[in-house]
């Protein structure tokens, strides 16, 4: 039973993370390979504030704001680059941020990480049991889903797709592609930050090693496998992949096997990505009229 609850919480968190990346990659065609940086910013900001005694009700918006502002600042120079270059630049940003978290020990306790992050409390009501935390994260997941669905189904969302599919045409039609991309990037960053906050308060421990390229690849896999550019896709992807990843963690196997389990699991992820890209790059849920 506890296992089920744990799975559900992690799925909810990753659904939010994936939905946020989908806005950037799926709808706007931005290859953001540093998305985990905003997840980390949200997590660290909220963790540091709550550890300093500031209640969750303030640390949450602060973390979201921080993630959004950083997203905005990064996007301005980064979006001047196209395609692959943007991808690698964002990848670099993610890595540099991780180095900052790792080196600035006075702020983030470096590689030792931040243990003992408190569970959130709203006016005395503490989300400290598993079912309560599930309610909290599911609530936020639904909220995210609703907000982002609203965004992508709106004219704004359609404009994003237009920019993704043919930037020149979109410009001719009067859309300032650059501005749209920035807005999309900021939205994605804010919600990634939200996922990060929920993660930090769930795991109660975060360290720079939690926010590496592996995380980016996982969330990318979720979005791509679930079906990028659709709004149900990331959720489906999250359910399938997180289920697979976390439940394997909970199997009781002899130690000779656990040593091999980790890499084996990752190998399957890699293989899955390859097979997907060859046979079904659109993912499980296909986008209507989308490109291959």
């Amino acid at each position: 039973m506890d296992l089920l609850l744990h799975l559900s919480v992690v799925i909810a968190i990753y659904a939010i993370f994936a939905l946020s990346l989908n806005v950037e990659v799926g709808y706007t065609g931005l290859f953001n390979f540093g998305h985990v940086a905003f997840f980390a910013i949200g997590a660290y900001t909220s963790a540091l504030l709550t550890l300093a005694g500031i209640p969750f009700i303030w640390s949450l918006p602060a973390a979201l704001a921080m993630a959004g502002v950083c997203g905005f600042l990064l996007s301005i120079p980064a979006l001047k680059l196209q395609g692959d270059y943007f991808g690698i630049a964002t990848l670099g940003f993610g890595e540099i941020l991780r180095m900052i978290f790792n080196n600035e020990v006075w702020l983030t306790k470096g590689p030792m990480g931040l243990p003992g992050i408190p569970r959130p409390e709203f006016f005395g009501f503490a989300f400290d049991t598993l079912p309560r935390y599930l309610a909290l994260s599911s609530g936020f997941a639904l909220l995210t889903f609703a907000i982002l669905a609203f965004v992508v189904l709106s004219p704004f969302g359609r404009a994003l797709k237009a920019v993704r599919d043919d930037e020149t045409a979109a410009e001719i039609l009067g859309k300032n592609a650059y501005r749209f991309k920035i807005k999309s990037f900021v939205i994605g960053s804010v919600f990634a930050g939200l996922a990060g906050v929920l993660w930090a308060h769930y795991a109660t421990f975060i360290g720079p090693g939690d926010f590496t390229l592996t995380e980016t690849i996982l969330v990318l896999l979720i979005v791509v496998m679930g079906g990028k550019g659709t709004f149900l896709g990331p959720v489906v992807g999250a359910v399938v992949l997180i289920f697979f990843q976390e439940s394997v963690r909970f199997l009781r196997l002899p130690p000779e096997w656990t040593r091999l389990l980790g890499p084996l699991q990752q190998m399957i992820f890699g293989l899955l990505l390859i097979v997907l890209m060859i046979f079904r790059p659109e993912g499980i849920i296909r986008e209507k009229g989308g490109q291959r």
Binding site: V25, G29, F31, P77, K80, L81, Q82, G83, D84, Y85, G87, I88, A89, L91, G92, F93, E95, I96, M99, N102, N103, L213, T214, I217, L220, L221, V224, R259, L260, G262, P263, L264, Q266, M267, F269, G270, L271, L272, L273, I274, L276, M277, I278, P281, Q291, R292
Partner: protein, 291 residues
């Protein structure tokens, strides 16, 4: 270490690192140029090259270093061909994101396969530790001599191949325009295969040199891949000399840079340089290959 040799040693370390990055970048830029996509799994060719050598030097083969290098590089070349055949050829025409993600998946697969077989711990080739040779007040170990020597050899070989041979001419044509090359009757298939073999062998050589200098571990490829990218982009996609210079530039910048900032940020220097150069070169914005 007194002050002058301290700084000289730093520059030397920069050159050594730069040579290794140059080898990686040349292989990467070759594929980028000929096939117009970023082979995210290039790091794994580097890493597997080093591990193949480890494989042939250990039981049951037990070959000495100079003999084991041949099968190791041969296998690495085969790995490159296999990568193209099984993953990239089926999606040759797909969009950039698809190719990139497939390459990422391949990278994850190969990296963890190495960890599966050899574990996550650092491995060594098992050579006895020896003091470096003194050379103008600086120290150079045998592997480090090899790095410089082998890099020079590879650069010479690459030059001869690309600018003095027919195959090289075909590959350069492909690099400029794949479709036009096809129509012109150039044997694109052969050129593509050749590109993969060369790219993989360069990666393998680089990986072996790196491992001789600093030991093996499964992350050694991807840790350096990012820098190879940076060198490739700095030098211009498809531009072999650019890759060479880009690699050296990054190697020097990294090692000299840590005289001023904390060593913890060493790996970030490559990125910063790359982004700065990219931002300063407006004609690169189009994302097209530019020579």
């Amino acid at each position: 270490m007194d002050s002058i040799s301290y700084y000289l040693q730093t520059v030397l370390n920069g050159i050594l690192a730069g040579c290794v990055y140059a080898l990686f970048a040349m292989g990467l830029t070759l594929i980028y140029g000929v096939l117009n996509f970023v082979n995210f799994a290039h790091g794994e060719l580097i890493m597997w090259g080093a591990y193949f050598l480890f494989l042939f030097m250990a039981e049951p083969f037990g070959l000495p270093l100079y003999v084991a290098i041949l099968p190791a590089l041969a296998l690495t070349g085969c790995l490159g061909l296999a990568m193209d055949y099984s993953v990239f050829r089926p999606i040759r025409r797909a969009n950039r994101l698809t190719l990139l993600i497939a390459a990422m998946g391949l990278s994850v697969l190969l990296r963890n396969a190495a960890q599966f077989f050899w574990g996550a711990e650092v491995r060594t080739y098992g050579f006895e530790v020896m003091p470096g040779t003194q050379f103008l007040g600086l120290y150079l170990t045998t592997p480090q001599f090899a790095i410089i020597g082998v890099t020079l050899l590879c650069v010479a070989a690459v030059y001869l191949l690309f600018f003095k041979s027919r195959l090289g001419k075909s590959m350069r044509a492909l690099s400029d325009n794949l479709d036009l090359a096809r129509i012109s009757g150039i044997d694109t298939k052969r050129s593509i295969l050749a590109a993969w073999v060369i790219s993989a062998v360069l990666a393998g050589i680089g990986g072996i040199l790196l491992a001789l200098d600093t030991n093996l571990h499964p992350e050694m490829g991807i840790a350096n891949l990012i820098k190879a990218f940076a060198a490739t982009l700095i030098g211009g996609v498809g531009n072999l000399w650019g890759a060479l210079l880009g690699g050296l530039l990054i190697g020097l910048a990294e090692n000299i840079g840590v005289l001023f900032i904390s060593p913890g940020y060493k790996d970030g220097i490559a990125f910063v340089i790359m982004v700065l150069i990219l931002l300063a070169r407006p004609y690169v914005i189009l994302g097209e290959r530019s020579d």
